[in-house]
Symmetry: C2
Subunit: 159 residues, 2 copies
């Protein structure tokens, strides 16, 4: 099967549809990413988008970052901080992914702590304002000493 551009050489440029098919993101998403400055396109004579092959790697990087939980706006900032929107190099990737790995590790640490608290609190079920590690991070009253605990001590009900 011959290439659509009428040559035997592999085309340099991809259409949106091709990029969508290969990257696994919808055409509308590519449009959206473009409005957000995450990717760029050249235009054909008829105003249709044409992408260099390197856009696929860029999209791959975006999707990996998203999987780690980084918001698109942050991804955009980091990508645009690279000199001159050039094609992503292995060294860029190393730099970006180191940052994202740190973020990811932090998230994992937090979730793991939460899980461990959950595990140790399942049998207990107290959810005590004072004592439960699951609630304490949110207990702002404890600093103020508003008398909430007096009520708790005196009352028939618990929170």
């Amino acid at each position: 099967m011959q290439e659509k551009n009428g040559t035997d050489l592999p085309r340099r440029e991809l259409t949106v549809g091709e990029v969508a098919a290969r990257s696994g993101v919808a055409v509308s998403t590519l449009h959206f990413y473009e409005t957000k400055g995450l990717i760029k396109s050249m235009r054909s004579s008829g105003n249709q988008r044409r992408y260099p092959r390197s856009v696929l790697r860029r999209i791959a990087v975006i999707k990996i970052a998203q999987r780690t939980g980084i918001p698109l706006a942050d991804i955009q900032k980091e990508l645009s901080a690279l000199p001159d929107d050039r094609q992503l190099l292995a060294s860029d990737w190393a730099h970006l992914s180191e940052n994202w790995k740190a973020d990811l590790n932090e998230r994992i640490t937090k979730l793991t702590a939460l899980r461990d608290q959950l595990t140790s609190c399942i049998g207990c079920g107290c959810l005590s304002m004072r004592d439960c590690p699951l609630r304490n991070p949110y207990d702002t009253l404890s600093e103020k000493g508003t008398g909430a605990y007096l009520i708790e001590h005196a009352g028939e009900e618990q929170d």
Copy 2:
């Protein structure tokens, strides 16, 4: 300081403001939770919300579930599946938190796998469609054999 209800007994009912202060969520959020069926209120003669003390525990449970990443709609479903909107018992808590712990574990597992892939790919930077574990989960083309790889093999550029 005397209680606002003019008795020396601890009040049974809390106002929205009190619940907000104690639970750490905004009044507007309590209204919002009510529209979503996550919490309920009684009304005073003047149509103001009055809450039983047990709402605090309910809100605590909601917030814990949210921290694990459960959407409010799911939390609502699970809470409303409990018989008759009764006050949450330790056994309810055990049941709910077991479910949520399983969810959380799954999320931790996925994120950990992602981190490990990230770690092993940082030095590499290939992001190869075929070989990179970071990209492969999304590679739908690989099943179809569309010739993408022929192009990759022949081309000067990589994706």
